[in-house]
């Protein structure tokens, strides 16, 4: 069974630029999550989708971050404009449903200069 796919794996941008990350969850997984993991910290949930609807986005900085999950499968997370403090690993995870274990992708390491 293929795991959660993410791209790109690494991204370096200047502050105020925009960036987008892509996630392809495990086939059949209804729930998709985007996390931000700053070095030395645990993952912090940014947004959670159930199929193509948003379940929780309370910690998403909506003035600069946006995410969508069209057709309830793939998802993209965008940052525009990026700030220095956005430097982190962005992890995508998926699960069969909302009470199941989460499977994480390899993450995208973002560096904002």
């Amino acid at each position: 069974e293929a795991g959660v796919a993410q791209s790109p794996r690494y991204k370096i941008i200047e502050k105020r630029q925009s960036v987008a990350f892509w996630c392809n969850p495990i086939s059949g997984h209804a729930t998709l999550y985007w996390y931000q993991q700053i070095l030395g910290q645990g993952p912090k949930l940014l947004i959670q989708f159930q199929n193509n609807g948003v379940v929780d986005d309370s910690q998403l900085p909506k003035d600069r971050f946006s995410a969508e999950r069209l057709k309830g499968v793939d998802s993209t997370l965008k940052i525009q404009p990026a700030k220095l403090e956005d430097s982190a690993v962005y992890l995508c995870a998926s699960s069969l449903g909302m009470s199941y274990e989460q499977f994480f992708g390899p993450g995208t390491r973002l560096t904002v200069l």
Binding site: G40, G42, P43, L45, D56, M98, S99, E101, Q102, F104
Partner: protein
């Protein structure tokens, strides 16, 4: 808001020694999950505890959920170099499995 705290932040052990990490929540949890993240890797699910006082074992790993469902622990017996990594607990309080992660305990095992 809800917080999940983990101690210790770091633990260095000699191979063969035991290791324990503790997790405490500011609120009662619906369930708690444990994940392991190897250096440079991504979190990998280990186990989920749901019932008050629950104890589960996976080979050398023992997981406990407190009676009040506000704390949990992970104990590794006779550590091996393959146990190296950061162990995270993550608790949920809502019905939609929103995980609140602790900061993790980084385990180093010296051969």
């Amino acid at each position: 808001g809800q917080q999940v705290m983990q101690i210790p932040q770091y633990q260095h052990v000699q191979e063969g020694e035991d290791f324990t990490t503790y997790c405490n929540s500011s609120t009662t949890l619906s369930n708690i999950q444990w994940y392991k993240q190897r250096p440079g890797g991504h979190p990998v699910f280990l186990i989920q505890l749901v019932k008050s006082g629950e104890v589960k074992k996976q080979k050398r790993l023992t997981f406990q959920f407190g009676e009040a469902k506000k704390n949990s622990s992970l104990h590794i017996t006779a550590t091996q170099t393959t146990d190296v990594g950061t162990y995270f607990c993550a608790g949920t309080t809502g019905g939609y499995n929103k995980l609140i992660f602790g900061a993790g305990t980084r385990l180093a095992v010296h051969p």
